[in-house]
């Protein structure tokens, strides 16, 4: 049997919480407090002993309440967060879009950001130039493609970012809440585009609060709660069809 493309065992990620921001001045003036905080930091556990195994080609929907650790998990898989406890093995090229405008610079134009983002995610400039037309076509944002990114609407940023990460032929695709800002037509395009990648054996992680998005794109759902995996299984089991109506007052 093939080795899992992602293997995570006992992953715990904690962040130091500090209600005081120590600058150099702060450290010098409050040395005692600082040393105390250093030795007894208050920790926030974002991911709590997570173990997961993902096979090549799986399409995973990641869901859970705000602050449950979804983005943190993707940041660890994507190699952005590099200090954690536990073991994380990722055996494939990762391409990710963890926020709107992520990996892009607000003052550069769409075209320049396509090159910048692609090159930072591991493609050469020549490869990105070859992909340019395809990405511009997909983003379909007209003359905004030559305007600086700070003039973009959320939807435009999503289109551009999604176009780049799906064009660079990833083996693992991490997408965080991007579909949420797109209109219906854009969502359809995304689904088609993801479908094309999946046919080539790409593995997908899609963060979403929208049950329909998950049903349409995923075959496995992982639900996190307070940094723990509370459900992990086929879509039909974890998010059953026809959920109980929320407003059913007697």
């Amino acid at each position: 049997m093939e080795r899992p493309i992602i293997e995570i065992s006992h992953l715990t990620k904690q962040f130091k919480l500090s209600n005081r921001r120590y600058g150099l001045k702060g450290v010098l003036l409050h040395l005692v407090d600082y040393l105390h905080d250093m030795r007894h930091p208050r920790m926030f556990t974002a991911l709590d002993d997570i173990s997961l195994s993902v096979r090549r080609g799986e399409r995973i929907g990641l869901t859970g309440q705000n602050g449950c650790g979804k983005t943190t998990l993707l940041s660890v898989i994507g190699g952005v967060y590099r200090s954690y406890r536990g073991r994380v093995d990722v055996r494939g090229r990762v391409s990710m879009m963890l926020a709107l405008g992520a990996g892009m610079h607000p003052e550069l134009s769409g075209r320049e950001n396509i090159i910048l983002n692609g090159v930072l995610q591991g493609k050469t400039r020549r490869e990105m130039q070859a992909l340019m037309d395809d990405i511009v076509d997909f983003a379909d944002i007209g003359e905004f493609i030559d305007a600086p990114l700070y003039q973009y609407s959320s939807g435009m940023k999503a289109r551009l970012g999604f176009g780049v990460i799906t064009a660079i032929d990833p083996e693992i695709l991490l997408v965080d809440e991007v579909l949420a800002v797109g209109d219906a037509e854009f969502k359809k395009k995304c689904v088609r585009r993801i479908g094309g990648l999946l046919e080539r054996g790409c593995t997908l992680f899609l963060v979403s609060h929208n049950a329909n998005d998950i049903r349409r794109n995923c075959d496995r759902v992982i639900r996190l709660d307070y940094g723990r995996v509370v459900a992990d299984g086929p879509v039909a089991e974890v998010i059953p069809e026809a959920p109980v109506p929320a407003a059913s007052t007697p």
């Binding site: 963890l98 992520a102 610079h105 090159i115 050469t124 400039r125």
Partner: protein, 260 residues
């Protein structure tokens, strides 16, 4: 081997796009663009000329204006690399929070952007040399340029590593660094001639790597002979700072993204 080549090409491209970005941001956000970046250091030199050359009369170096611009351009280059690298991580937080690449490339990106700018102002120096009828000492160009360049790269990158990494931990470091650079400027022979420093202190003065680097650089226009004693001190001090800076940077690097 093929993987190594592909990686080298990728790192080259990554530095290249970061340099392009820096360059574009530096010149495009103002109408005058490049002209500003040239005018400001030149006007500074005029001020130095009036203050130190005409009023206080400490600037007794021959061809004093040439002395000033050659020193000041080099200083602006060094200071530009260091000060911009101090904030390069926070300024590019959208990149490094959400994309996985080696952050040290940002440091090199700033360096090459500033180096390119430095090359672009060299014609001004050549014009000044022509006006003063000073010819470069041809035989000293290669050794002096090489010595100055290697030491300056080590020093600027080393200090940048250190400052950029520590600035993530202590966000108010920038204020202190401004003072440090101000003191460093006065401790370097930008507007005072090295000959003002008493001979018995000269050795210690030259331990300031910028003093030796600047002297090596200026000797291309001034000194008729090579001074071998100038090569080693900045190389050693710069090399040590480079090693220290890189160690600190690598140590703190895993935390950069999450401390943004």
């Amino acid at each position: 081997m093929a993987v190594g080549l592909k990686n080298a090409a990728l790192i080259r491209d990554q530095i290249l796009v970061l340099v392009q970005k820096e360059f574009k941001l530096k010149y495009n956000s103002t109408a005058l663009g490049f002209a500003w970046c040239l005018l400001v250091p030149l006007l500074m030199c005029v001020v130095y000329y009036v203050v130190f050359g005409m009023l206080m009369r400490v600037g007794r170096a021959p061809n004093y204006f040439l002395y000033l611009i050659s020193g000041n351009f080099l200083w602006q280059f060094f200071q530009g690399v260091v000060m911009q690298n101090g904030t390069v991580l926070t300024k590019n937080s959208t990149l490094l929070k959400k994309a996985n690449f080696d952050e040290s490339l940002l440091i090199w990106g700033t360096f090459f952007a500033e180096a390119l700018h430095f090359l672009l102002v060299i014609p001004v120096l050549i014009v000044a040399m022509a006006l003063y009828r000073v010819a470069p000492q041809w035989y000293s160009i290669l050794p002096n340029l090489l010595g100055a360049a290697v030491s300056l790269i080590l020093l600027a990158i080393g200090v940048s590593y250190l400052y950029a990494a520590l600035n993530i931990v202590f966000r108010d470091l920038e204020r202190m660094m401004r003072i440090v650079m101000q003191v460093w400027l006065y401790a370097s022979p930008v507007f005072i001639p090295v000959t003002m420093i008493p001979v018995k202190w000269r050795f210690y003065y030259m331990l300031n790597p910028m003093a030796s680097i600047m002297t090596l650089w200026r000797n291309i226009f001034y000194s008729p002979q090579l001074d071998w004693r100038l090569y080693l001190p900045p190389l050693i001090v710069g090399g040590l700072l480079f090693l220290l800076g890189r160690a600190v940077f690598r140590r703190l690097q895993p935390q950069f993204a999450e401390r943004m």
